[in-house]
């Protein structure tokens, strides 16, 4: 259960290798936290990550999870609950950026990204929401992206998956009102991480730690949507309305 200052006992990270997901989990750690479960494709490869979270009184465990294998999601949630109990905070952090060029050459690459980032996320979020309704509490954090606010030619497949996920998350968030549970949407800008190594940073770029700090602050204040950094909310208020001819020619893509 979560306590009165928003400290969670049981945290599940979907996308247990995601730097942002892990940074949020780390930011959520308090002496009240008892369990962190990292859900990822290759749980055997998370030893280092597990060790980085380890402390007295905390159990960190990796479990096998494939976002693309939607048929397995119901059983996955049941198994996690059976071994860990009520889920206090679930961080939906998986997602592939992919390569737009590869997508242009091979439509199946685009389908794969869309399937994991959107279909997979919708599937597992629905299962988590179902569990939340049963247990009468819980917080789901969904990692969206400003890339979905207005898609750009440099990564529009990825951007469109985040646009879809963001719209889905808003609806889910409204649907959960009154169930005791809640859904929070996080919209980071360009984040320096393994996912973006070698890419040219966009303006107002940030780091996983900053995203994590703002996310946890927003969670404890009961926010529905968090932009990281916060200024992007105002930047995109303008960007969204730029004429297409200008938007297309913007230097960041």
């Amino acid at each position: 259960m979560e306590n009165a200052v928003g400290e969670a006992q049981n945290i599940l990270v979907l996308g247990g290798r995601s730097e942002i997901g892990l940074a949020i989990a780390r930011e959520l750690l308090t002496p009240s936290t008892q369990r962190v479960t990292l859900a990822c494709r290759q749980p055997g490869e998370s030893r280092e990550v597990e060790a980085s979270l380890a402390r007295n009184g905390l159990s960190v465990e990796s479990v096998s999870f494939d976002a693309a294998d939607t048929a397995s999601h119901a059983e996955f949630v049941n198994n996690v609950v059976a071994s860990c109990g009520d889920l206090d905070v679930v961080i939906l952090a998986f997602g592939v950026l992919g390569s737009q060029e590869q997508c242009d050459d091979d439509s199946q690459s685009a389908v794969k990204i869309a399937h994991t980032n959107y279909t997979g996320a919708v599937s597992i979020a629905m299962e988590v929401a179902h569990r939340f309704r049963q247990q009468g509490h819980g917080r789901l954090i969904i990692l969206s992206s400003v890339a979905g606010e207005r898609t750009r030619k440099a990564n529009y497949v990825y951007g469109s998956t985040k646009a879809g996920l963001d719209a889905f998350a808003q609806g889910l968030s409204d649907a959960m009102v009154g169930t005791g549970a809640s859904v929070m949407i996080v919209r980071p800008g360009f984040v320096h991480s393994a996912m973006t190594t070698g890419m040219k940073a966009a303006p107002f770029s940030t780091t996983p730690d900053v995203v994590a700090k703002l996310t946890v602050k927003g969670l404890r204040a009961g926010k529905r949507i968090v932009w990281t950094p916060g200024i992007l909310r105002w930047v995109f208020m303008v960007m969204r309305h730029l004429p297409v001819a200008i938007w297309r020619r913007m230097p960041m893509g």
């Binding site: 259960m1 979560e2 306590n3 009165a4 200052v5 928003g6 400290e7 006992q9 308090t30 002496p31 009240s32 009184g57 109990g85 009520d86 309704r133 049963q134 247990q135 009468g136 509490h137 009154g178 169930t179 005791g180 549970a181 404890r220 204040a221 009961g222």
Partner: protein, 454 residues
């Protein structure tokens, strides 16, 4: 029969950690049908929701409120006892019994608690140092177990189940009605002596040596002042006023009891609330100065002496949308230095609101989960969104554990299973008995899940 539930979002009095449950208000005869209709998330009874944290919540399960009326309570004037339904509030009972010359054996700072809640939390009041907690005054009670059977238990009849139910947070069964002894009174007034203490040391000294001469004793402390004024406080001690103390004019209506309701806080308060460093410091200054340095024998009405905050409805809304916590712990005698260190920590954090209370406890009772222990108890209200509150409370938890102290389950909204296991050395014994009477885990609560009580 038809079991009709509503889905409700519930919180405690502190308005933190909401969770959702299927709720219903039931009469005694229907309870069995309603508990049969529960799922794996179990059932919990809820009184007036005055526990500060998650004690009266059961996320995803069933939460029932027991109907009851003070008019149906049975007053045995000769024996000085009262039998009342568990769902009846002390507020309603007082209106019936005070005019007939009786007072409840123990009252907390609010009279808006139910009799069932009083037993389940084993509540204490200003008279703990001489008369113990509520459980000490219970003669017998009826309890419905998980299998639907009803049992009469008391300190002589099935004492182990009785004492597991006293302070058992509703996790042993459903308390249906309670018979408890009353305090005979001659008037509805209290004679109160007031002393202003310059700091915490003066207060501890005064309480250590003078408390036993009084039935009631409690101190309000200022936890925003520093230095030589650390813990400056006002100590009120008194007893029920004797008839002989009144003038013949007043004696004619000696047992008049009319608790007044001044105002209610509206449901809409700015989200940041009205309780902050500035308003609290101002309140403390005025509160301290309004009291005389030393005054003997002033008369106060029962509501203004025992339940001053009850005059303002929904005062918990003053803290705004973020809600608040009431952090209460007890430390054994001999740990006054640690008590002072904790007070210093709270003072430095500048988080405390004006509602800080220090009380000297008397002996414990045989209940494994009863909170009071011989020593000191400090109660501090803090806005839940205060910066760094989580780590402040964890560090105080640590000091409480190191000093052999404990936390009050009815107030708790923050601490850990470890702190509870350390603070209640008989927790395992209680758990074994709980499992024996509830093998299928029918009784559950958010508090029990969070603190691993079951």
């Amino acid at each position: 029969m038809e079991t009709d539930f509503t889905t409700s979002r519930l919180t405690g009095w502190g308005r933190t950690s909401p969770s959702s449950a299927r709720t219903a208000e039931v009469s005694r005869g229907d309870v069995a049908a309603f508990i049969k209709d529960s799922n794996r998330r179990g059932v919990l009874m809820r009184g007036l929701g005055r526990s500060y944290g998650d004690a009266a919540q059961n996320a995803g399960g069933v939460v029932l409120t027991l109907k009851g009326s003070a008019q149906e309570a049975i007053l045995n004037v000769e024996a000085g006892t009262l039998t009342a339904g568990a769902g009846v509030s002390l507020h309603d009972l007082l209106k019936v019994i005070v005019p007939r010359g009786f007072f409840v054996p123990v009252t907390p700072g609010t009279r808006f608690v139910t009799v069932g809640g009083a037993v389940a939390s084993d509540i204490h009041g200003k008279n703990h140092h001489v008369e113990g907690s509520f459980g000490n005054h219970v003669r017998r009670l009826t309890l419905m177990l998980a299998d639907g059977t009803i049992h009469e238990i008391g300190p002589e009849q099935n004492p182990s189940l009785f004492w597991a139910t006293v302070g058992g947070m509703g996790l042993t069964g459903i308390i249906l009605d309670v018979t408890f002894s009353l305090i005979p009174i001659e008037t509805s007034l209290c004679t109160v002596n007031t002393i202003r203490c310059r700091n915490i040391d003066e207060l501890i000294e005064e309480m250590s040596h003078g408390d036993d001469d009084y039935r009631y004793s409690v101190a309000w402390a200022d936890l925003l002042s520093t230095g030589s004024r650390l813990g400056r406080s006002v100590l009120w001690r008194g007893d029920h006023t004797k008839l002989a103390e009144l003038s013949s004019k007043d004696a004619a209506q000696a047992l008049r009891y009319e608790p007044r309701h001044l105002a209610s806080v509206p449901p809409v308060v700015p989200s940041f609330g009205f309780v902050n460093k500035i308003s609290s410091a101002l309140f403390n200054e005025l509160w301290f100065r309004k009291e005389p340095r030393r005054k003997e024998g002033g008369h106060k009405s029962m509501p203004s002496y025992f339940h001053p905050l009850d005059a303002i409805g929904s005062w918990n809304r003053l803290y705004g949308a973020g809600g608040f916590l009431q952090y209460q712990f007890a430390l054994p005698f001999g740990r006054e230095d640690e008590l002072r260190q904790i007070i210093e920590k709270v003072v430095i954090s500048k988080t405390a609101s004006p509602l800080v209370v220090l009380k000297r406890f008397g002996d414990s009772n045989p209940a494994p989960l009863s909170f009071p222990m011989p020593g000191w108890t400090l109660t501090v209200d803090i806005p839940a969104r205060a910066e760094g509150l989580g780590s402040l409370l964890h560090s105080i938890d640590e000091m409480v554990m190191q000093s052999g102290g404990r936390h009050y389950l009815a107030k708790d909204a923050h601490t850990t299973p470890l702190a509870i296991a350390r603070g209640y050395p008989r927790l395992e014994e209680w758990k074994q008995l709980q499992r024996l009477v509830d093998p299928d885990r029918r009784w559950q609560s958010d508090l029990a899940r969070r603190l691993e009580l079951i």
